[in-house]
Amino acid sequence: MSVIKDISEVAKGMGITFMEMFQPTVVENYPDGPGIFKGAKFQERFRGMHVLQRDENGLEKCVACFLCAAACPSNCIYIEAAENTAEKRVSGAERYAEVYNIDYNRCIFCGYCVEACPTDAITHGHGFEVATFNVGALVYRKEQLLAIKPAQMGDNAVFNKQEMETQRVLPG
């Protein structure tokens, strides 16, 4: 009787396989899917590449308080502060970050920097495709981390003169 038992076991197993063929697909079609994330889906809370936010006037929110750098357990944030002047206004407060680097070789995406930020300047975006063959490319500069300027602000956005002249194209 063992033959019948064996056949029934196989049929039971294959039954699951056949049943699954009629269920909807649950895997994501990354990287062949649609949209800028190529089919990858995220929870809102996903901690990806950092984004340095701007305020409603297009000025940087970061005031170079160094709290993110102090909170960072892997010591991957490097900041140099400078003072805003009437001619060159970068942030809303007196001080701004002249240099703001995040070393993604070290970053562990723990989100402590975001938690520490008193001005909600640093946030986690959903970017995750950071892999590279070049270690040096993993040190991201402020220009690469900054959010794009609010396009809807148009002429109302307060930009500093220097930046107006050399309008950079920033990565999305």
Binding site: V63, C65, F66, A70, A81, A82, E83, A93, P118, T119
Partner: protein, 780 residues
């Protein structure tokens, strides 16, 4: 005073009568919070943070203004007190902007700490905060009015401790505002004490603002490199592309002889070290032009050339000029290098006070010199010549506060109407140049001209009645005058002397024997058998003095000259062609007037970039620690050792390394920033560490302590960062030289010899003081 017994939170406290409650609590480790109370300043009772419950008193009492009385029972930890403090913080925060992320004080702000300890996380106020624009009061003082909590510390420190009174209060009640004396800007000594004492970020420093944050820096406690007072200063340093950059000078370590005090130079004039025109590559003259070369090339060239000159023309044809700003170890090493390697006694430095005569006068007299700390406690002080307010800010501070807090009697004898006359019990203005006559009169002489006779007689009689008199004199008194002053000091019970010199280590240069006729510890050459035994060789004939070397250079007799951290061309107003026929090697920070005419220029590290010890003008020896770092420079110590090595000399004989007690292998034993490495201090003090490095200054300090008896101070205390008073009486006999050799620089509050010229802050402050008066604007 009789002791009073009180109870604080159940603990028994015994303190002298008259003690303030807040201080009595501190003695048993109970911290009572306060903004407006500051030890040493007058009482304000403005902030109401120090409220405590005193039994049998109806309301809460301010601990900072309550004097303890017998049987007092005090509670500092009670719900009612917590409520009161919470409300006080809430009121303060009613208008205090919450811009902590931007504020310079963020991280070291007393209001932040208090809010954490006592404050509520929310406020009942819905009104908008009253914003006012930030004001710049001087190149170094900025005032952010909304941040001010009106504790009046700045006003009191400026008025009482500094006697400048440049800050005041306008309006009353909640409309009160701190205002500068000139309406919209300050006219003051720019000492920055107001910034240092401000519990919040209302007063901020122009040199440091918005640069970094307190926890981002390393804090290095070292000695100031400017005037001869030797204040302890804490430098905040951070990494930069050139090495380590100094971003702040302040006084967070209040353990030095200066306590709370720092002047404009100590606080801001570290910036010469960060100049971009610092020399960072050795320069060698080729075809009449100085060209950059590698260290190896430059040192080999200097070594070969000096060895060649020594074998051809002998040591007597070579000279060495030492510095007032290099460490004791470097000075000692330099004179040893001159005497042992170059085989010449032609070594001198720019003398700014007659320490040789001072040592001669005081030989064999124990405890005859006063330390910087003693000035603050002395019952009476006699000041002859000098203007401490300008030239020795710490001395002036100590005197002022001694008079204010301890009611000391101050006698000022000066040819100018110096500012300290305001604190003087007796001020005698004497004709310029008659200081020596006054010293002779004190020693028992008579007054030649009759004009001052009665005044001088009365002064002398009064001085003789004093006990524990501290006599400070400037470079006006030299040679024999110092001896007569000492004769007078012997007639006053417990009198001590202070000889005032200009620069950070002028005393150290003198103590370490950077003299043509004196060995370390003021030992005359003929008595130098101890040194000969230690070093193996010692030239017998006295060498040339600084003017002597210049004359020899003019008459082409000086074949080689090594100048370490000095600028004789500028200071002595020499013709640049003076050294045209000498092989001139200059070690300096900048391409100074002397360096510009040199054959080889070696870029040296400043005193903030090396380790060692400094001796201030009072004779207090202090540790100098490395704070900054400029890539490409080397300490004078290392340069001298390397030149000796290239001249074929056995370096182990010059620096006794390998036998001593320290391995400087760059390891840190977990010391936190700003804190002494306790393990290293202990090992060093026990003599347990191996010395493996020929560039280790402590190896030379071992030799100094062995050969200069006055420097046998507690190594443990010294290494832990405390100032230690050296003894002059245990040293050699000194010598009375030509008074004309003493050339004081007469630097003021805003100048500091060649380093001062390269300080941007000092220059801006000076320009600002000389600018035309701005139109007056109503303060509000």
């Amino acid at each position: 005073m009789p002791d009073v017994n009180i109870t604080v939170d159940g603990k028994k406290v015994t303190a002298p009568a008259g003690t303030l409650l807040i201080e009595a609590c501190k003695t048993v480790g109970i911290e009572v919070p306060a903004f407006c109370y500051y030890p040493g300043l007058s009482l304000q009772g403005a902030c109401r943070m120090c409220l405590v419950k005193v039994e049998k008193m109806p309301k809460l009492q301010t601990a900072c203004t309550t004097v303890i009385s017998e049987g007092m029972a005090v509670t500092t930890d009670h719900e009612e007190i917590h409520q009161a403090r919470k409300s006080m913080v809430e009121l303060l925060l009613g208008n205090h902007p919450l811009d902590c992320p931007v504020c310079d004080a963020g991280g070291e702000c007393e209001l932040q700490d208090m809010t954490f300890s006592y404050g509520a996380s929310e406020s009942k106020y819905t009104e908008a905060k009253n914003h006012k624009e930030e004001q710049q009061w001087s190149p170094v003082v900025f005032f952010d009015r909304p941040r001010c909590i009106l504790c009046y510390r700045c006003v009191r420190v400026c008025d009482e401790a500094m006697d400048v009174a440049a800050l005041g209060i306008q309006n009353r009640g909640s409309g009160s505002v701190i205002a500068p004396n000139m309406g919209d800007h300050l006219d003051c000594e720019e000492c920055g004490m107001c910034i240092d004492i401000c519990p919040v970020g209302a007063l901020t420093s122009g040199a440091y603002r918005y640069k970094t944050r307190p926890w981002e820096m390393n804090h290095v406690a070292t000695a100031c490199t400017h005037c001869g007072d030797g204040c302890k200063t804490t430098l905040g340093v951070r990494r930069s592309e050139t090495g380590m950059e100094i971003v702040r000078g302040d006084n967070r370590d209040k353990s030095g002889p200066n306590g709370d005090f720092l002047c404009v130079k100590g606080r801001y004039a570290f910036d010469f070290a960060n100049r971009t025109d610092r020399l960072t590559q050795p320069l060698v003259r080729r075809n009449g032009k100085l060209v950059p070369v590698t260290w190896d090339e430059a040192l080999t060239y200097v070594g070969q050339k000096l060895a060649e000159i020594r074998s051809q023309s002998g040591g007597a044809s070579m000279g060495v000029i030492g510095s007032n700003r290099t460490t004791n170890e470097e000075n000692y090493l330099l004179q040893k290098f001159a005497r042992v390697v170059l085989q010449t006694n032609n070594i001198d430095h720019q003398r700014t006070a007659d320490f040789a005569a001072f040592a001669a006068a005081l030989a064999g007299r124990p405890d005859a010199t006063a330390s910087a700390r003693e000035v603050f406690d002395a019952p009476a002080i006699l000041l002859i010549g000098n203007d401490p307010t300008e030239q020795h800010p710490l001395l002036a501070y100590q005197i002022r506060n001694n008079v204010r807090l301890h009611k000391a009697r101050l006698y000022v004898v000066n040819s100018e109407s110096v500012k300290l006359r305001r604190q003087a019990t007796l001020f005698s203005q004497i004709p310029s140049g008659s200081e020596a006559a006054f010293a002779a009169f004190l020693a028992g002489g008579d007054v030649a001209n009759g004009a001052n006779r009665d005044e001088w007689n009365a002064l002398r009689d009064q001085l003789r009645k004093e006990t524990g008199l501290v006599i400070a004199f400037g470079s006006e008194l030299r040679g024999a005058s110092i001896a007569s002053l000492n004769k007078f000091a012997l007639s006053v019970q417990g009198a001590k002397l202070i000889c005032l010199a200009d620069y950070a280590n002028s005393r150290g240069a003198a103590d370490m024997g950077v003299y043509p006729d004196l060995l370390p510890g003021y030992v005359p050459l003929i008595q130098g058998s101890k040194f000969k035994a230690e070093w193996g060789t010692l030239p017998d004939a006295a060498g040339l003095t600084l003017p002597g070397m210049v004359d020899a250079a003019k008459s082409c007799k000086l074949k080689a000259l090594l100048v370490v951290g000095a600028n004789p061309v500028f200071r002595m107003k020499l013709d640049p062609a003076t050294f045209a026929n000498s092989f001139l090697v200059v070690q300096d920070l900048f391409l100074s007037e002397t360096a510009a005419v040199a054959d080889v220029v070696l870029p040296a590290a400043s005193a903030y970039e090396k380790s060692g010890t400094f001796t201030n003008t009072y004779g207090d020896v202090q540790l100098v620690k490395q704070a900054g770092e400029i890539t490409g420079t080397k300490s004078d110590f290392e340069i001298i050792v390397r030149i000796a090595e290239r001249m074929g000399y056995d370096v182990a004989k010059l620096v006794p390394f390998g036998s001593g007690s320290r391995a400087d292998m760059g390891q840190s034993r977990g010391a936190q920033s700003g804190e002494a490495d306790r393990h290293a201090v202990w090992l060093e003090a026990q003599g347990l560490e191996l010395k493996m490095n020929p560039f280790d200054p402590t190896a030379v300090f071992d030799e100094i302590q062995r050969l200069v008896p006055g420097y046998q101070v507690s190594r443990l205390n010294l290494m832990a960062g405390n100032d230690q008073h050296t003894r002059l009486d245990q040293n050699g006999g000194g010598a009375v030289g030509d008074p004309a050799l003493i050339q004081p620089a007469n630097d003021g509050l805003f100048s500091s010899g060649s380093t001062g010229r390269y300080s941007k802050t000092l220059n801006t402050v000076m320009e600002n003081r000389n600018r035309v008066e701005m139109p007056k604007v109503a303060a509000d």
